[in-house]
Structures are given as C-alpha cells and as structure tokens.
Symmetry: C2
Subunit: 170 residues, 2 copies
DNA sequence: CAGTATATGTCAGTGTTGTTGACATTCCAA
DNA sequence: TTGGAATGTCAACAACACTGACATATACTG
C-alpha cells in the first residue's frame, strides 16, 4: 500500500503526479525548502538573544498591529505560556509594547516600537529576498501552483486564519 | 523599500506575483503549510518516546539503506552530537541497526529493522495521505509549480542533496 | 613505521522553544 | 453578585538544537 506506484498510474488520465515516488519527492522538497526558508532570519537572530519564535511574534504583530494576545495565540498555535515568555522578553527589550484594551481592559493590544519595526524590517527583507528570487526563477505559473498546493496542505483552521490574513492585506 | 508594491508592478510585463504583498502571502503560506505538513507524524510520535528528529532520521535511513552516519549528518544538517542522541535511542529500541563498514571499518552503515520499517510506514503513510490529498486537490500543473518554487528556495547544497536523492529514487 | 586525518561516539554544559499544572488578577455579563 | 473569560506568572520538565573537549579505531601518507 505504499511502495512503487500503487497509488495511481492507471485510470487513463495522467495521474503520475500522485505516485508514491512523487509524493515522497514532494515531502523531501518541503523539508529542504523549509530549511532554506528559515535560514536567513535564523542567521540574523543567532547573534541576538532571539530565536524563531520571536521572529514569528514580530511578524504577526507587524502584520496586524493592535492584535490581542489571544489572537496571536491562535495564529501561532502555541500555548499562552510559551508565547508569554517570548512577549515578555520583547516587551522588556523595548521591541513591543502592550496596551490595555479600551473597550475590554482584560485584553492587551500589541504593537511594535520603532526598534521592533526596524528588526521586523531586517528579518523580512532577508526572507523576502529569498522568496523573491525563488518566485522570479520559477515564474508566475509555478508561483500560483505553489500557493495552491500549500493552501491545500494546511489544516482547515489554519486555512481560515491564512485566508483572513490574506484578505486583510490586499 | 518594502511596503506597498515597490518591488515590481511596472515594467510592462505581468510581474504582479513579485509584489511585496504577494511575497508576504507566500511566506505566510509556507509557515502555515509546514505546520500541516508535520502535524500528522507529530501526533503519532507524541504518544511514543520519539519526536520529529527521530522521524527525519528514520525517513532518510529508509530512503537510503546502508547510509553512513556522516552522510545522514550532511542531509539533516545537524551536529553529530545531536544526531547521535537520536540514533542511540533508535538503536537501543531496536528500530535501527548500525553495521561496521566492510571496505572502511570506521564507517557505520545504518539500516531499519522490521520494527523500524513498520514505524516508518506508519509515519510516512500519514504524511503521504495529506500530501496526496493536497496534490489531488491542486492538480498536476500546480504540483509542478509547487516543486519548482520549493527547489528554487533551497540552499544550493541542499538542492544538490535533494537532486541526488531524487535521482536515487526514480 | 610515524604522523596525520577521518569517522564515529560520548560527556558535560547551555539555550530556545515547546509542554502541563497551578494559581492570581481583572473585568464583563447574566 | 457570582461565574466565566482573558491575561499573566511561577515552576517543572522535555525535545532538540548548539559548543567544546576528549576517546577510539581506522585509514592514508610520507
């Protein structure tokens, strides 16, 4: 049920792209590409006291300024304790400020400071540069396919979160 | 230099797919999709004493039976101490055996035991199922684009490793 | 053969990121 | 006013990565 081409290969149409061999290549491509994807920001952050978790928090705070902790929690998919550790250091270092909500004072709204924005800029410039180069090499048709497959690969809740973000930005 | 559509949008041709907004969507898609990508094996492994690192080792040993430790080290991109911790437990639990090399006795060649193969099967079945469903939903053209972009996103050494593996399997 | 290089394994320490569990505070809403 | 939601904090722990140092066996080279 998983060696060779058991999955497909008959059925008249061209379903060769569903061969187990093709699927495995897709899996390995995903593994190697994700390493490249995170390599540049990781390199930058290695010299500071921050890591990938800080990058993610900064990215989504930049993306949706004023977002609440709970909101961020759902997007990032980690526990509040885990996120809180990260946020605490970012606030302590003056990269993020957390303001008590006006309508609901239990909520904390998160914003980047100028220094936080500068770091965000540096990190996303590096990541965008790689993405841009990959997109340019691959061409628009490949990029469209890339995004179609990625969206199909997400969990449904993540797909919703992603779509919401996408619409927010356009 | 990074807000709006500074990157492209003129130049006559359709370079809209290189807009900063598009790049950011690509970045976020990668982030969410990778979570889906690892979710199923992670869930399975959570109930055992193993984690993602064990999965990776098992995958590539299955992929290239008899591979050496050094080889695996380069593919996985971790330190030997890190890999060794994982291999030690896998060997101790009887999922992997390590044989002294015949031509070079310094080398250890790694193989999955029957039990190791069973676990590999379980894990990759789960991962392949998701990949298959994503591929089927997206269609062959999108899949081709997906792989093109991923390859362009890898570091050059990883691209080489990936290509080598790809050719080994076909 | 002597010396150097390679492949592997191991010990000890450290850092980041994730997890549970427990508990306090604040505040909205029924 | 009471219950529950949102947030924060403390403590303990585990997985997985890192560095540095050292040991052993083997292979290669002059």
């Amino acid at each position: 049920m998983s060696d060779g081409r058991s999955t497909s290969a008959y059925s008249g149409e061209n379903l060769l792209f569903l061969t187990d061999e093709q699927l495995r290549q897709g899996i390995e491509a995903m593994f190697f590409a994700y390493r490249g994807f995170t390599a540049d920001p990781d390199r930058i952050l290695a010299n500071m006291a921050y890591g990938r978790a800080h990058h993610r928090a900064i990215h989504f705070i930049h993306r949706a300024p004023g977002t609440t902790v709970n909101n961020l929690l759902n997007i990032l998919g980690v526990t509040k304790q885990s996120l809180n550790r990260v946020l605490r250091t970012l606030v302590a270092q003056g990269l993020v400020i957390s303001k008590v909500g006006k309508v609901d004072k239990r909520e904390r709204h998160l914003f980047l400071t100028d220094e936080g924005s500068r770091l965000e800029q540096t990190l996303s410039d590096a990541q965008r540069a790689r993405m841009r180069s990959a997109f340019r090499d691959a061409g628009p048709a490949a990029v469209a396919g890339f995004r179609t497959v990625l969206e199909a690969m997400m969990d449904t809740e993540m797909q919703r979160a992603y779509t919401r973000l996408k619409e927010t930005g356009a």
